[in-house]
C-alpha cells in the first residue's frame, strides 16, 4: 500500500516563475538592517510584475547598501563597482544594451558624498534606470562615521554631534532635472513596493531615497534616521497604489479625489491625496513641500515628482533599437568604399 501525496501547486507569477527565481544569496548585513527589507521588496516587486530576471542588471557602488544586490535577483547580472561611481558603470552598460532594466542600489555615502557629482549628472542625463538610495546617514561598513545626509545635530554613538547640514538627495534630484523622485521608509512595506513598481515602469531615471535605519551605528536616540524617529516623524505624502498594465490588481480605491499620472507604457500611478491637494507633476510645489517638511522636522514620503514624457538619454542619443553590444560586424564596420573615400579626402 502506498499513499499518493499530491504536492501543492507551486505558486508562480504571470511568466511562470517562482519567487525563488527572484531571490539572491543569504544576506550578510546585520539582522534588522533596513537594507534587507528593501531587498525583500525588490524581490517581491520583480516577482509580482513578472519581469524576466535576465532582463535586469543590478549595479552598486561600495558600502553596506552596495553589497545588497547580491541578496536579490540572483538570476540577473550584477556589478558591484567602485565607491560613488555606480552611475557611470550603469550608464555604460545601459548604453551598451538599452533593453536592460537597470537597477542601481547605493547608499548615502556612495551617492551624497563621493558620488554626488555622478549622481547629479545621472539625473541631468535622465539615464533610464532605477536609482535606489539606501539612506541611513552613516557609514556602516567603516563602523559609523557621519555621511553627508546625516541631519544637523544628530549624534553618533560615540557622542559626536554632526554640525553640518545634510544634503537632501530628493531635493537635489528635483532641482537638477530628475523625472521621477520619491522618498520612502524601509519599514513601510506597502508604500515602498508601490514606489518600486512605479519606478520600474517609469521610462526615465527614477530616484527613490529610502530612509533605511542602520541598526548598529545609527539607530539610537539622537539619530534622525532611527526606527523610532521615523515612526514618530514620517509623514506620508499620499498613499500610492501602482496598477501595472499587464496585471489586474484589485486595489482599494481610496475615497475622495484621485489623481492619476499616466506613465509612458500606459500604466497608471494613482495617488491618493491625504490632507493636501498634492500634484506630483509640479516641480516647484514638490520642492516647496520638501522645504516645508524639513522646516517641520518631518520626513515627507511618497512620489514627490513625476515627469513621464521627458526624453531619456537613450532617446537623446538617437540609438538604434538593437542593443549596441550585439550589433553584427556589418553594422559597425564601414565598407572598404568608405575607407577609400576617406583616404581620397586626405590626399
Amino acid at each position: 500500500m502506498s499513499t499518493t501525496v499530491t504536492p501543492p501547486p507551486k505558486k508562480v507569477n504571470r511568466i511562470g516563475l517562482e519567487i525563488l527565481n527572484y531571490k539572491g544569496l543569504k544576506t550578510t548585513l546585520c539582522a534588522g538592517c533596513g537594507h534587507n527589507a528593501i531587498s525583500e521588496r525588490i524581490v517581491e516587486c520583480f516577482y509580482e510584475l513578472g519581469i524576466e530576471p535576465y532582463h535586469v542588471a543590478k549595479f552598486s557602488g561600495i558600502g553596506c547598501s552596495s553589497k545588497s544586490p547580491a541578496y536579490f535577483l540572483g538570476q540577473s547580472h550584477g556589478f558591484n563597482a567602485v565607491h560613488g561611481r555606480m552611475p557611470a558603470v550603469a550608464s555604460g552598460a545601459i548604453l551598451a544594451n538599452h533593453h536592460i532594466l537597470g537597477l542601481g542600489v547605493t547608499g548615502d555615502g556612495d551617492t551624497a558624498s563621493i558620488g554626488i557629482g555622478q549622481f547629479m549628472h545621472q539625473v541631468r542625463r535622465n539615464v533610464p534606470m532605477i536609482y535606489v538610495i539606501e539612506d541611513n546617514g552613516v557609514y556602516g561598513l567603516t563602523k559609523g562615521q557621519f555621511s553627508a545626509t546625516a541631519d544637523l545635530g544628530s549624534k553618533l554613538k560615540t557622542g559626536v554631534l554632526n554640525d553640518l547640514p545634510p544634503f537632501d538627495c530628493c531635493a537635489l534630484a528635483l532641482k537638477w532635472g530628475a523625472t521621477f523622485v520619491a522618498r520612502s521608509f524601509s519599514g513601510d512595506k506597502k508604500q515602498l513596493q508601490a514606489l518600486l513598481k512605479a519606478a520600474i515602469v517609469h521610462k526615465g531615471l527614477s530616484v527613490i531615497d529610502v530612509v533605511s535605519p542602520c541598526v548598529t551605528f545609527n539607530d539610537h536616540e539622537g539619530s534622525t534616521k532611527s526606527y523610532s524617529y521615523m515612526k514618530d516623524h514620517e509623514e506620508p505624502l499620499h498613499e500610492v497604489d501602482f496598477v501595472p498594465s499587464y496585471e489586474d490588481i484589485t486595489v482599494e480605491i481610496p475615497e475622495g479625489e484621485v489623481r492619476e499620472v499616466v506613465l509612458h507604457d500606459g500604466s497608471r500611478l494613482r495617488i491618493r491625496k491625504l490632507d493636501r491637494d498634492y500634484d506630483p507633476t509640479q516641480k516647484i510645489s514638490a520642492l516647496a513641500a520638501l522645504e516645508e517638511a524639513e522646516a517641520k522636522g518631518e520626513v515627507l514620503t511618497g512620489v514627490l515628482y513625476v515627469a513621464p514624457e521627458k526624453p531619456t538619454f537613450i532617446e537623446l542619443l538617437n540609438l538604434m533599437d538593437e542593443p549596441l553590444a550585439t550589433l553584427p560586424e556589418s553594422k559597425v564596420r564601414p565598407s572598404k568604399e568608405v575607407l577609400d573615400l576617406v583616404m581620397e579626402e586626405l590626399r
Partner: protein
C-alpha cells in the same frame, strides 16, 4: 632690386653656389590665435604636392591667443620625418620672440621677417629678407578686420618665391584647405599669397642655398594627424560606446571620431545611430562608463592624457581584476601634474603599465605613425575583448596632433574578434559556467553579457575578492589562484600582441631600442652614426607591451643596447628591468630626452657618441 644682406665677410657666396635642395627645415614663428595655421598647412601641403617628403610640427602654447607659437616644416629628400633640430629658414612674424629666434639660428640660415622688426641688425652671417607685411596686406584685403588673418598668407607667397615652390601648388592647397564652400576666403588668401610672391620676385636677390625641386615621393600618400588616424581605427574597429572628457592633446581624437561616426555610422534607413558618444563629467565617469559598456558587451573606449590617466587609476584596477574589456587612448603629454600640456613626451609608460593599486599590469600598444594608430586601434579592441581587460594605446602629442605623411590605410583583413562570450545556446549545452575558471589553459575565462536569455547566464561582477564562480571570497587559495591566473593571462598576451620590428646588422656591436615616435629620430640617427661615425647599429622597435621573447634575443646579440626614452626616468628601460635577467639588464644603456619637443636624430646621435666615448 635690393637685398638687405648685412655681411662683412660674405661667407655665403659659396653656399649659394652649392644649393641645398629638398633637405631643410622652415620655421614659422607667430603669435597663437593669429590664424597662421592655414598659412602653415598650405605651405606644407604645397611642398607635399610637389612630391617631396615633408613633415609639419606645431609647437604651441597652452593658451587660446596671444602667446608665441612655432610651426616647423621639414622637407627631406631622404624621407626623414622626425624633427630636425636646426632651423634653416625662419619666418619671423612674432616681435616678442624674433630676437631669440634669430639668435638661435646656425650661420647661413635665411630669415624672412616683418620689416619694422629690423632683425637684420642682429647678425651678419644670415640671409635677411625684410617684408613690409602691413603695406602689402592693405591693397589685397580691403576689410581691415580680416587683415590680421590674411597677412600670414603673404609669407606663403614670399617663401614660395624664395624656395621655388610652384604657386599653382599653393593655390591648389588653398582650395583644398578652404573647400568649395569657402571659395571667397580661398580667393582672398590667394590674393595675399600672390602679393607676397610678387613682392619677393621684384625685391629680393636669392642668396641663401635652400630650394625645392619636384620629386615623385609622395604620390598616392595622404596627410593626416595621429589622432584622426586613431579615430579612423576605432571607426573600423567597430567601436560602439565612446566616453570621454576633453583634455589636450587627446580631444581631437574623439572629436574627429564623432564627425566620422555621424557620416558613416548612422543607419540610412532608420536614421538611428550604431554608436553612443558621451562627453562625461570627468575622467572618473568616462572610464566608468567605458568599463560598464565593455562589461555589457559593447566595444567601448575613452581617450585621455596623463592627468586623466591618474584619475582613471581606480577603475582600471577594477577592469583588470573583474576582467572587463575597454580601450584607453593615452595621447601623452609632459607631466607630472599639469606639466607642459602642449608638449610631447612618453612619460606615462610606467604609470599605465602598472596603473592602480595592488598587483596590476596592463597591455599597451606603441604606434609610431598614423598608419599604426589606425591598425593598432583595431588590434587594441580585439585584444581587449579576447583577453577581457583594459588595453592602452600609447600615442603622444607629436604623433596625435601633428600632420604626418602616410601611405593610405589598409582595409582590415580579419574579422572583429569578440572573444570568449557564451550565448544562451552555449549555456543550454553546458548547463552553466564558471566565470573565472581557466578552461582553455590560457588564463582567460568565459563570460556572458547582461540580457543573455538564460537562467544560468548571470554572474556577479565585483572588485572584491572572488572565486572562480564569481562568488565573494576572502580565502587565501581563491585569491592566489585568481592572481596567478591573471598573471598567466598576461603571459599569454606576449604571443598575441604584434611582434616587434627588428633590424639586425651583422656588423653591429650596439643595438637601439625605441617605441612610438622615437622611431623617426632613431631611424635617422642610425644613418648619422653610420655616415658620420662609421658605427653600425641594430634596431628593435617593440610595438606592444608585454614584450615579446625577441626582446631578450635582441639584447643578447649586442654588447650594449641603448634604450631610448622620452622621459626623465628611463621608463621604457624600467619596464624591461622588471622582467629581464640581471646579465641582460647589464647590457642596457639609457638614452633619454625630456624637453617636451619631438625627439630629433641629432640628440640621439650625440648621446650615443658621448656614451660610446668617441
Amino acid at each position: 632690386m635690393s637685398t638687405v644682406e648685412v655681411s662683412p665677410a660674405e661667407p655665403r657666396s659659396d653656399e649659394a653656389s652649392r644649393p641645398v635642395i629638398n633637405d631643410f627645415s622652415i620655421q614659422v614663428a607667430t603669435v597663437n590665435g593669429s590664424g597662421s595655421q592655414t598659412a602653415n598647412t598650405v605651405l606644407m601641403r604645397s611642398i607635399f604636392q610637389m612630391g617631396i617628403p615633408v613633415s609639419g610640427k606645431n609647437m604651441f602654447p597652452s593658451n587660446i591667443a596671444g602667446l608665441p607659437t612655432w610651426f616647423t616644416i621639414r622637407a627631406s629628400k631622404h624621407g626623414y620625418i622626425g624633427r630636425k633640430k636646426e632651423v634653416d629658414f625662419l619666418v619671423a612674424m612674432n616681435p616678442e620672440t624674433a630676437r631669440e629666434d634669430v639668435m638661435s639660428l646656425d650661420s647661413g640660415a635665411a630669415v624672412v621677417y616683418d620689416e619694422p622688426l629690423k632683425l637684420n641688425a642682429l647678425r651678419s652671417d644670415l640671409h635677411f629678407y625684410p617684408v613690409p607685411f602691413d603695406k602689402l596686406v592693405a591693397p589685397v584685403c580691403p576689410e581691415a578686420k580680416l587683415r590680421k588673418l590674411v597677412r600670414n598668407m603673404i609669407y606663403d607667397g614670399v617663401v614660395a618665391n624664395l624656395l621655388s615652390i610652384d604657386m599653382q601648388e599653393i593655390r591648389k592647397a588653398l582650395v583644398k584647405q578652404f573647400g568649395k564652400k569657402k571659395a571667397k576666403a580661398a580667393e582672398l588668401n590667394w590674393g595675399a599669397a600672390q602679393a607676397g610672391y610678387d613682392y619677393a620676385a621684384k625685391t629680393f636677390t636669392k642668396r641663401d642655398p635652400f630650394r625645392v625641386e619636384r620629386m615623385n615621393e609622395t604620390a598616392g600618400k595622404i596627410i593626416i594627424d595621429g589622432n584622426s588616424a586613431s579615430a579612423l581605427g576605432c571607426l573600423f574597429a567597430g567601436v560602439t560606446v565612446v566616453t570621454w572628457y576633453p583634455i589636450t592633446p587627446s580631444s581631437s581624437l574623439v572629436e574627429t571620431l564623432i564627425a566620422y561616426m555621424k557620416r558613416f555610422r548612422i543607419d540610412p534607413e532608420t536614421g538611428k545611430a550604431s554608436f553612443a558618444v558621451v562627453q562625461a563629467e570627468d575622467e572618473l565617469a568616462s572610464i566608468g562608463m567605458a568599463i560598464g559598456a565593455g562589461w555589457a558587451g559593447a566595444r567601448s573606449m575613452t581617450a585621455t592624457a596623463g592627468p586623466g590617466i591618474s584619475l582613471m587609476a581606480e577603475f582600471i584596477g577594477l577592469g583588470y581584476y573583474a576582467e572587463i574589456p575597454a580601450v584607453i587612448f593615452d595621447v601623452e603629454r609632459v607631466g607630472p601634474s599639469t606639466g607642459l600640456p602642449t608638449r610631447t613626451a612618453q612619460g606615462d609608460l610606467l604609470s599605465c603599465a602598472l596603473l592602480s593599486h595592488g598587483d596590476t599590469k596592463h597591455p599597451m600598444f606603441f604606434p609610431c605613425s598614423p598608419e599604426e594608430c589606425f591598425t593598432m586601434a583595431q588590434d587594441a579592441f580585439n585584444l581587449a575583448e579576447r583577453f577581457q581587460t583594459p588595453v592602452f594605446v600609447m600615442t603622444d602629442l607629436d604623433l596625435g596632433m601633428n600632420n604626418w605623411m602616410s601611405d593610405p590605410f589598409p582595409y582590415p583583413t580579419t574579422p572583429i574578434d569578440r572573444g570568449k562570450v557564451l550565448s544562451a545556446e552555449d549555456l543550454e549545452k553546458l548547463g552553466g559556467f564558471a566565470r573565472y575558471r581557466d578552461v582553455d589553459g590560457d588564463g582567460v575565462g568565459y563570460r556572458t553579457i547582461p540580457g543573455t536569455r538564460h537562467p544560468a547566464a548571470a554572474y556577479f561582477t565585483r572588485g572584491s575578492g572572488h572565486n572562480d564562480r564569481a562568488g565573494y571570497s576572502e580565502r587565501e587559495d581563491d585569491y592566489m589562484n585568481n592572481m596567478d591566473r591573471l598573471a598567466l593571462k598576461f603571459e599569454t598576451m606576449r604571443t598575441h600582441v604584434p611582434p616587434p620590428v627588428a633590424e639586425y646588422n651583422d656588423r653591429a656591436r650596439i643595438g637601439l631600442i625605441a617605441v612610438g615616435t622615437s622611431h623617426h629620430a632613431v631611424e635617422e640617427s642610425r644613418d648619422q652614426l653610420r655616415n658620420e661615425y662609421e658605427i653600425e647599429t641594430s634596431y628593435l622597435r617593440p610595438k606592444a607591451y608585454p614584450f615579446n621573447a625577441e626582446l631578450v634575443e635582441f639584447i643578447r646579440r649586442h654588447d650594449r643596447v641603448y634604450v631610448v626614452d622620452q622621459n626623465r626616468d628611463a621608463q621604457l628601460l624600467g619596464l624591461m628591468r622588471l622582467e629581464l635577467e640581471p646579465e641582460d639588464i647589464a647590457r642596457l644603456r639609457s638614452l633619454r630626452y625630456y624637453g617636451g619637443l619631438p625627439l630629433d636624430a641629432r640628440t640621439v646621435t650625440d648621446e650615443v657618441i658621448r656614451q660610446e666615448g668617441k
